[in-house]
Symmetry: D2
Subunit: 348 residues, 4 copies
Amino acid sequence: MDNNIVIKIGVVGATGYTGVELLRLLAMHPSAKVLVITSRTHAGSRVDLLFPSLRGHYDHHFTAPNSEQLNNCDVIFFATPPGVAQESVPGFLNKGIKIIDLSADFRIRDSALWKKWYSKTHVCPELLNKAVYGLPEINRKKIKNATLIACPGCYPTSVLLGFKPLLESGLVKPSDLIANVASGISGAGREASVDNLFAETSDSFKAYSVEGHKHLPEIEQGLEDIAGGPIKLTFIPHLLPIIRGIHSTLYATLKIKGADVQKIYEECYKDEPFVDVLPAGSHPQTRSVKGTNICRISVFCPNDGDRVVVLVVEDNLVKGASGQAIQNMNILFGLPEGTALDKLALLP
Amino acid sequence: MDNNIVIKIGVVGATGYTGVELLRLLAMHPSAKVLVITSRTHAGSRVDLLFPSLRGHYDHHFTAPNSEQLNNCDVIFFATPPGVAQESVPGFLNKGIKIIDLSADFRIRDSALWKKWYSKTHVCPELLNKAVYGLPEINRKKIKNATLIACPGCYPTSVLLGFKPLLESGLVKPSDLIANVASGISGAGREASVDNLFAETSDSFKAYSVEGHKHLPEIEQGLEDIAGGPIKLTFIPHLLPIIRGIHSTLYATLKIKGADVQKIYEECYKDEPFVDVLPAGSHPQTRSVKGTNICRISVFCPNDGDRVVVLVVEDNLVKGASGQAIQNMNILFGLPEGTALDKLALLP
Amino acid sequence: MDNNIVIKIGVVGATGYTGVELLRLLAMHPSAKVLVITSRTHAGSRVDLLFPSLRGHYDHHFTAPNSEQLNNCDVIFFATPPGVAQESVPGFLNKGIKIIDLSADFRIRDSALWKKWYSKTHVCPELLNKAVYGLPEINRKKIKNATLIACPGCYPTSVLLGFKPLLESGLVKPSDLIANVASGISGAGREASVDNLFAETSDSFKAYSVEGHKHLPEIEQGLEDIAGGPIKLTFIPHLLPIIRGIHSTLYATLKIKGADVQKIYEECYKDEPFVDVLPAGSHPQTRSVKGTNICRISVFCPNDGDRVVVLVVEDNLVKGASGQAIQNMNILFGLPEGTALDKLALLP
Amino acid sequence: MDNNIVIKIGVVGATGYTGVELLRLLAMHPSAKVLVITSRTHAGSRVDLLFPSLRGHYDHHFTAPNSEQLNNCDVIFFATPPGVAQESVPGFLNKGIKIIDLSADFRIRDSALWKKWYSKTHVCPELLNKAVYGLPEINRKKIKNATLIACPGCYPTSVLLGFKPLLESGLVKPSDLIANVASGISGAGREASVDNLFAETSDSFKAYSVEGHKHLPEIEQGLEDIAGGPIKLTFIPHLLPIIRGIHSTLYATLKIKGADVQKIYEECYKDEPFVDVLPAGSHPQTRSVKGTNICRISVFCPNDGDRVVVLVVEDNLVKGASGQAIQNMNILFGLPEGTALDKLALLP
């Protein structure tokens, strides 16, 4: 590894929460040189005018998404709504520029499935199989050699990391999985909306999209990859009145009672820098990972029965999005995987 | 008073927070019969589909704003954005229908001033002097005989009730008033906006509109009416990460030290059903009035100096809007002033 | 029913959240006359000094718990920690005074089980079978003739009402039930504690007591009563950064696919004044029941599979505690069941 | 400066919020080597068991406060309640160990005044004049040579930095100052208390200690130092339902209208690394400094009148406490002032 490496970076679509979180983390990355930051809606205005938290760290102006500067980048991050990245990714790849896409465009390998959930025909389905699903705990080697990385969604990251040890070990019935998950409101993005107003969401709680959430096919694909066969999942998302954080409560059924699940989890993740299996009996809190790339996990078999309950917390904007994107960049460019990602959570 | 009186009511523009709050309170009013509820955007759909909290109390559908049913009402409430009520109010008045306007259209008597702050020429300036400013603690007698009532804004209600005893008694310098006020986010309305998203406002605090807030001219007019002469006010609003509630911290300077301000406040409000002067040394909390029409006030002279500090809390959607509107209706129709407004605050 | 009935009431232990909520609701009850309000810690001080929201509605002082006035009551509510009510309940019952206990003292019929979970030997186990479990939707007739009513816990109310139609109809496997529940922090009571500080709980989320929560045996007993046989439940509580509200996400497995669960729920609760089955596809929010005695329920079979998902919301301090206690009182004294409980939720 | 310098550090009283914040920041400090972390109540248990956010960064156990290891430190931070540090500070100073005290023990030079506000006789009043008040923007040179640094309180930091340019320039009347301040609840510490429970403080707002707050004498002393003469201040604190953050709204009266206050502020702070004067017309938000050592300031003269309004935000636990303590340590040990303090705010 070369300590003096400089990675020239473009960020496309930086006015949303994953965009500003990328900029926050890249500002603390010793090898990152952000060349260009684009925005359709804010082109021409200073980035730190929109995000005062960046004052003193960025003197960029937003440029239009077709900025020539993007062609001078080593890597381009897309932090765009579904359907946007696929329009320009093929062109950049042809120029030898690496792509790390935080959107949903390249996560699902089956283009028909993509169309079903995103109501649009994919414009470059031939890339779906070339894209590497950027979950390092599963795909680290492929990521190292990727040209196009599809960063996992926030819910999928949490659910896949939570179920991985159980499915890999073959201890549980793959046909009987439940993911009861709850996300902070930043997960809904930074679009003007009535539903996500403070006065609509604060001091309240609800489930949503019970009949089908867009992350479901991505989670199913990921679980089947891990299990090496079909799975059956009930996935129920909820909206939490917190800014950042996802908490998953996962339920599975042991084939045979009495497995030492604590040991299985510790063993599975013992070399992972960003997965922290808590001591037996702990209950992870979302705030313990606020602002960090860490995923904290606890596992229980209540009353020594055959039901396994797994608790997983992550920061949806870091390990669930921008932090994982940088973890992928670090792997891709041969940097220490934790570069810029070693900061501690804000607590309280 | 006739206990069996039935008041036929129309509510124009009921998809915002003051609208739904009106409906909540009217559902508990024994004399209120809501004939018609209008909405430009939701005409045709059930009211309780938009607001599930109303289930079991309303089976109305929203109608278009030009519904014929409005002509059968005894009174129409307008809970509309600025500039809307003035378009149709003259017509309804001509038909003998009373108007209680919760918007800003008839609060300011000077049409030039109205135009300056609302960037629009008023369409019926001749009504501005006929409208009665609906602050019962100041205008109760005029309200009784009004045909058009302009309900005060949320900030003005709080600031005027807080300064009233000091200005009426002539104890303080009218040229040296400060109102440092903070409002819950419901005060910003139920419009889709980035600025009022949960993820933008929760766990944060800021001042806003320091260079001039739309409620300033209304407050100045009201203070001058009370003082009987010119006043000078610095008015600084802040945005609180709470749903409901306004807290005003008012500063004034005594002409002569040593006044018994506690007694002056208790005396001023001793017969008022909705103004509660707290025991000396108390600090009112916004939650103590959540959901109620009550305004709670404390007054201090720290260190027995010449600075008076007044603390005022109200629920911006009740005493600051819809509750006060119903208080006005009760006065107008000769009902006990507290009808439907005698419920207790939710605490915790 | 006699409209002029006056019920003389004592409230024992009124400094907690269920206590103040009882007082809030009783103040709006036309037949309730609160004679005495006790508190060990605050005896002698005014009730409305501790709870300013009660100003103007109560001029009581807290009395010591052994107040003679309790003997003049028709009914005494206990809003005390576990183990307190059982000390004095037998004496009051002997004097013919009715008891409505909001604590856990008389909810579990098996005294050994009570001891296991509350680490104390029950002092009047002979009353455990005489106490009526005060869930009107299940026990309305028994409540009418009860002398001692054990009000259900907040979680049990929600879980029992949610599973009732499925278990009664025999449609689901009773051995495969999951209750993933989340409660607002008022459920933890008004005791000084580090864990429930704002700075510890706000902007965060966690599961707790995964290995066994005190409400588990009460829920299991209730579910078995409904099912008429053994059940197996995994019960995972979570702590929500909201003040009031419980949201249960319940999972069960259909014996045979294709049941019209929507219809079964609507049928089961069609005559219940305080259970509101939402239209198919709805997601109940806790705020839609804030301050009310209503329980709102939705039911889904995602992807038409064999998994049933039930969503239940209630206000833990109302339907989950003090409102249900008053509902029980209304039944007990032959009043309309909804007296004092017909107010609408605060929204927003 | 020596890049390889290692500073051996003790932290006394690390179970509160300023303690854990010190540990968070020190973990990111390349020259800091934390030798010992003490706690009376948690001695013997792992630090990261109490604060899971520290997992992976500390393997220390809390030791008793009289740990011998403290004598091997270069510098000891005290994050203790009032009255504790003064007991042992003289002994450590005699051994040549530097002290950075985050408590109130050495902030006020007048021991009689200290006694008045803290109800205790100071045990080492002779040190009060030797202690350097650790506000770098005022005392940077003295800090460099100090042995005992008294870190400013959170409110004083905000109010002093906000008024400094106005008082130094002599533009405003020093006898007419108002500080209307609001603090997040972490400012009240991590003690078990009813008043700071989530259910007591969330969704509410109040002023407190209007008749006199413990930070008042410290602020008055600091303002008089800056003004070079007597001042008169009204200081009204409020409690905000946010975790971190202080927002001050300061009012002063210009001696002569028309000063270019924007320029005066920019000039005053142009070389300060941690004071950021915003562009004219901006409204700072507390979240823009969450987790950082930065203080953001805006200044207004509404309507070009003689009233100046200054808005100041800081993170009470960073610039208002532990960050400033590390800034002081950096100055004291000749390190770049921003070491470990250059991270960006979490937004959202």
